[in-house]
């Protein structure tokens, strides 16, 4: 259980690869610095999904793709009762999935 979400910043070209890979999608570089993913951004798109997978007891989940101000895009859970496209949000870290006794932490978005 990690309380931070990280990406890989390519040492050669500076592109942040999130999710991480071993080879930079922009330049082919293989050396990365671990950087924390998060901050402020805007909602690119979102959904209320009722077709849930295992591990959830809620009726639906509100998921979003957010474009952070540094250009990195992330998928996470949107904690906002009045979502709109383009709305300003900021990231927080919270429990996003609870398989059995485990608690998985990840990105959540709240109004900025």
């Amino acid at each position: 259980m990690s309380d931070r979400v990280t990406g890989g910043k390519c040492a050669a070209c500076g592109t942040v690869n999130y999710p991480r890979r071993l080879v930079c999608s922009n330049c082919g570089g293989e050396t990365f610095e671990s950087v924390e993913i998060g901050g402020q951004g805007k909602v690119l798109t979102y959904t209320d999904v009722y077709a849930l997978a295992i591990d959830y007891e809620t009726r639906y989940l509100r998921l979003a793709i957010v474009e952070l101000d540094d250009g990195v895009r992330v998928t996470g859970q949107l904690l906002d009762d009045d979502p709109t496209l383009g709305k300003r949000v900021k990231t927080t870290i919270g429990v996003v999935r609870e398989p059995g006794e485990k608690k998985i932490l990840g990105l959540q978005f709240v109004p900025a």
């Binding site: 798109t45 209320d48 009722y50 997978a53």
Partner: protein, 394 residues
């Protein structure tokens, strides 16, 4: 590369199966083999397409299981798992065997038996194709990716829920003409969108997508027999040639794409398939697209090159994609109504096209169809196989 032909095609009725996984695969295979009427010509190899048997049916090595069921040992056998694109991937592997000269007759069978588990398990099994750390842990499922995609496309290109409903209405209509389709029921705009009770009939699944925007969960199998030019010549009759196959991939996580509304892998796979075939999208008489969600039929019809970007819903509205339109899309009923047994889907596309090109599609036959196109969409667009088939003169 040596030419490859489809000599026979068959499938089981999609829906809830009483049969075991291998019985399903065997019945579709036998239908295709009988259709091909090979006589004494031996089958050199079997390729099975499947996504979830290891998890859902607790069975592996499906190629070995099927080759024995059909008493085809010691023919070669293998299985291909490539997510929802498993079917067309297995087809590609079969074609490569013949194009290389390593085989003369290959049976390709796609199968899925996923109604054995409950809805949560079934949804979770398919969701396991998403990125484990950047998507899956958040509760991402395929409907959620489709919902987020749909909202963005609708906002950007003026697609409305009525257009999504038009896809469902068309494909449900088509399915009533296909005895192999899972859902044999027409739907109306009133019933799923405009009447007060529509919200009850058609509840949300992943906003803005509702139940009638999503394919059902189906069991089923589909099969084709691929043959070399020599064998096709010996068999005589209608010759359906595999004119082109194209495949392309895209990033695992949907958010990682430069433009998440651009189905780049569909575009590239289609360009490659048409280039190999020496044909253009305008040559296509009938298309089977991967409408796991209604929005996908619209956007795939653009990415494949049939309509300009952002105008697929307008062509749909004008009736161009209906049976009897300029380019009928999903005459089989599509995944939407024919059903979507995941590993079988890509092969079922090619079964329908083969029947259409041979003039055997009965109540949904497109007159004189000569060129067919199929798009098998894996992941949420991260692995796509496009196929172009062409009927040759006898």
């Amino acid at each position: 590369m040596k030419p490859v032909y489809i000599a026979g095609a068959g499938m089981t009725k999609f829906g809830r199966a009483e049969w075991s996984l291998i019985r399903l695969a065997s019945e579709a295979s036998l239908a295709a083999l009988h259709h091909a009427n090979l006589g004494e010509i031996p089958v050199d190899g079997v390729v099975v397409a499947n996504m979830g048997a290891a998890r859902v049916n607790k069975q592996t090595a499906l190629g070995s299981a099927l080759v024995d069921q059909l008493a085809l040992c010691p023919a070669t056998a293998e299985a291909v798992e490539n997510g929802p694109a498993s079917g067309a991937s297995a087809f590609k592997v079969g074609c490569q065997a013949i194009a290389s000269g390593m085989a003369d007759v290959v049976l390709v069978t796609g199968v899925e038996r996923m109604r054995t588990v409950n809805g949560l398990e079934g949804t979770d099994f398919v969701a396991s194709l998403s990125h484990p750390e950047a998507e899956y842990i958040y509760g991402v499922t395929l409907p959620s990716l489709a919902g987020m995609f749909a909202r963005l496309v609708m906002d950007r290109f003026g697609v409305e829920r009525k257009h999504l409903a038009m896809v469902a209405i068309k494909n449900h209509d088509n399915a009533t003409k296909n005895p192999y389709a899972h859902i044999q029921q027409t739907v109306t705009m009133e019933g799923i969108l405009t009447a007060p009770e529509a919200i009850v009939n058609n509840p949300p699944i992943a906003e803005p997508l509702h139940m009638f925007d999503c394919c059902p969960v189906s069991d089923g199998a589909a099969s084709v027999v691929l043959v070399s030019e020599d064998v096709a010549g010996n068999l005589g009759g209608s010759k359906v040639r595999v004119a082109g196959i194209g495949q392309a991939t895209d990033t695992h996580a949907v958010h990682d794409r430069e433009d998440p509304t651009d189905l780049k892998a569909v575009r590239l796979a289609s360009e490659r398939a048409f280039a190999m075939a020496g044909l253009a999208p305008s040559d296509v008489d009938v298309a089977e697209l991967h409408d796991a969600f209604t929005i996908l039929e619209i956007v795939e019809s653009e990415a494949a090159g049939f309509f300009p970007r952002g105008e697929g819903h307008l062509a749909l509205e004008r009736g161009e994609t209906a049976l009897g339109g300029a380019l009928p899309i999903n005459p089989s009923g599509g995944l939407k109504a024919k059903g979507h047994p995941v590993g079988a889907t890509g092969v079922a596309h090619l079964v329908e096209l083969t029947w259409q090109l041979r003039g055997e599609a009965e109540g949904r036959q497109i007159d004189g169809a000569e060129v067919g196109y199929a798009c098998n969409f894996g992941g949420f667009g991260n692995n796509v196989v496009a196929t172009v088939l062409r009927r040759e003169a006898e």
